[in-house]
């Protein structure tokens, strides 16, 4: 089966000089959750905007479900759903009216539409609030409505641009439950952007790390982390073993260092190698005081490829966005 999204050398230059997306190429397979991870301004949203036909690429091309995003924009629009970063639900309609309107825009058969709307509103837990005006909804409810709207027409590919941005931890967890549920039910391919490392790590089948408009790494989270050279086991001991070679000999061990009463053992899979290491130390009569396995995380991956920490890159901009979002919500209420 050909990849459902194929992107070749996509470039977007704004105002003649800002290279927001600078020649990205990647494929997304049908049914997978594909994540775009990077700091704000890395080109995530611009890429999504091009793939969802909102803006035209400066050069390069891409297909979604076999349709060219420029020449067959309307065919692409038919098979995709977009849950954009900023809210797009209509405040002055009820939740249910928003859903029906969306169904009308995608020409979902009338007789089926009401069932689907019922099912989706139930799925995102908005059945009780369906006849209330959206302006009375909380931020989390709006976001869930937005998600449900993106699914009314059963898109083949669902684009989620920062779907959990600005939500509290609990709501984020609930959102992801919904998204995974939907994926299971409809085998929807999900393309998401996020700057939450944990989210990308635990949910995505594959991740593209994007920075300054370029993809710097693309693989499964596990492989990306493995590419850093594996886990580190730290073992504090009371005495040293006679021959360090006996540790190096254990399968899976890459490198052993000893300093200040502590072994730092670099291994491929920490949780599998640790028992062997401990048994060997035990057999040699070494008393183990404590053990710590640390696995490389995506932040370290990000650092490896870009030379800076994603967390640091995000810190200021996340606060910025939070404030902007709060202001936007206030403006909506005033209206």
């Amino acid at each position: 089966m050909p990849p459902i999204v194929q992107v070749k050398n996509l470039v977007k230059i704004f105002n003649g000089s800002v290279r927001a997306v600078d020649g990205v190429s990647f494929d997304v397979n049908e049914g997978e959750i594909f994540g775009f991870l990077g700091p704000n301004g890395a080109g995530k949203t611009t890429t999504i905007s091009m793939l969802t036909t909102l803006i035209k690429p400066t050069s390069g091309n891409a297909t979604v479900a076999g349709h060219d995003i420029v020449k067959e924009a309307n065919e692409v629009r038919n098979v995709i759903g977009l849950v954009p970063q900023d809210l797009t639900v209509d405040d002055d309609l009820t939740g249910r009216e928003n859903m029906i309107l969306q169904g009308d825009l995608y020409r979902v058969p009338k007789e089926e539409l009401f069932n689907r709307v019922d099912g989706l509103l139930d799925l995102v837990g908005l059945t009780d609030a369906e006849d209330r005006m959206v302006k009375t909804y909380s931020g989390g409810m709006r976001k869930r409505l937005e998600l449900a709207e993106g699914l009314v027409h059963h898109p083949k590919v669902l684009f989620l641009d920062e779907p959990t941005l600005g939500l509290d931890v609990q709501t984020r967890a609930v959102m992801w439950e919904h998204i995974l549920d939907l994926k299971k039910k409809h085998n929807t391919t999900i393309f998401l952007t996020t700057h939450y490392l944990e989210e990308a790590d635990s949910l995505c089948d594959r991740i593209a790390i994007i920075d300054h408009g370029k993809i710097v790494a693309l693989d499964s989270p596990r492989q990306l982390k493995a590419s850093l050279g594996g886990d580190v086991i730290e073992v504090s001991v009371e005495s040293e073993v006679d021959s360090p070679d006996s540790i190096t000999g254990i399968p899976g061990v890459i490198e052993v260092q000893f300093s200040e009463g502590k072994y730092r053992i670099k291994v491929t899979r920490g949780e599998e190698v640790t028992p062997g290491v401990l048994k060997m130390l035990w057999d040699q009569g070494v008393v183990v005081k404590s053990v710590n396995i640390s696995q490389p995380n995506l932040d370290q991956v990000f650092m490896e490829y870009t030379g800076r920490s994603l967390r640091d890159a995000m810190q200021s901009s996340v606060q910025d966005r939070g404030q902007r979002m709060a202001r936007a919500m206030q403006a909506r209420r005033r209206r």
């Binding site: 035209k56 309307n74 900023d86 797009t88 002055d92 309609l93 009216e97 825009l105």
Partner: protein
């Protein structure tokens, strides 16, 4: 295409009738004109003193038996103009609040986005101007007030033709102002544009004053104003001895061309601006 257009038109109308104050406010302005200006300002007596002979009044006011009847018909057309000028406002709001993004991602013809606003404005304009029409008629039955006096020939066909004329006028103006709004990013600018244009369009027409009172240059501008065509056409339908500027068929033809060309312009313009 019909389904998407209807869905979006209904959305617009819901926004309108759910805000009762808004409906009320849009009715107030023409009522003030009819009630105060129309009642107090008896142009025929101002011009010639009291007791002007009826046929002279009719000569002055395109066949209307009094000035109030003349300006009431003009006010229907002004009502259409004032309602349709704001038809683009929701495009600006939608752009601001992201709803436009949703429409741009949806597999719908781009032209539907302005057309739905046009249709909802036309609906509103018709409802509001017909209410004005009824109120103006009712004035004739209130002692001490002047009302709209229509000729005995005014029947169902004339009423329908009047609705057609108002619809064409509304389509044209709504199309113009929605098209303008497609290029505007904030509501202050749009309100500025509306304020700049509303009075000139209203006064440079035969809506409130007969063109006979105007200097030549203004008269020639007024004769090209679609509001003049609409008012001229409706006056021929309503009054017993109309004194038209143009033949009724010319008025309607002019309005068809006016509405048709701006609708087409809006449709194709939307394709250009909404597909970046």
């Amino acid at each position: 295409m019909l389904r998407e257009t209807m869905a979006l038109t209904v959305r617009e109308l819901k926004h309108w009738y759910r805000v009762k104050v808004q409906v009320f406010m849009t009715m107030i302005m023409p009522l003030v004109w009819l009630g105060l200006f129309g009642q107090a300002f008896r142009l025929e007596e101002l011009a010639m003193g009291p007791g002007v002979p009826p046929d002279m009044v009719q000569n002055l006011f395109a066949g209307a038996p009094n000035y109030f009847s003349f300006m009431a018909i003009g006010m229907l057309c002004v009502m259409v103009l004032f309602t349709c000028m704001f038809s683009g406002m929701s495009v600006v709001w939608d752009r601001r609040f992201g709803f436009l993004t949703k429409l741009q991602v949806a597999p719908i013809q781009r032209g539907i986005i302005p057309m739905s606003r046009v249709l909802s404005s036309v609906t509103r304009a018709l409802i509001q101007s017909l209410i004005i029409f009824i109120i103006a008629l009712a004035f004739a039955y209130i002692p001490g007030l002047v009302g709209l006096e229509i000729g005995p020939g005014f029947g169902i066909v004339e009423l329908l033709l009047m609705v057609v004329i108002l619809t064409l006028l509304a389509l044209g103006f709504a199309a113009i102002f929605t098209t303008i709004a497609l290029t505007i990013e904030n509501q202050e600018t749009l309100i500025g544009v509306i304020n700049l244009l509303n009075l000139p369009i209203m006064f440079a027409s035969a809506a409130l004053f007969p063109t006979a009172f105007m200097p030549d240059w203004l008269k020639s501008v007024a004769n090209l104003n679609p509001i003049t065509w609409a008012a001229d056409g409706i006056r021929q339908l309503v009054f017993e001895n109309p004194q038209p500027i143009y033949d009724l068929s010319i008025d309607i033809l002019g309005l068809v061309i006016f509405a048709g060309s701006f609708l087409l312009l809006g449709w194709f313009f939307a394709r250009r601006v909404l597909n970046r």
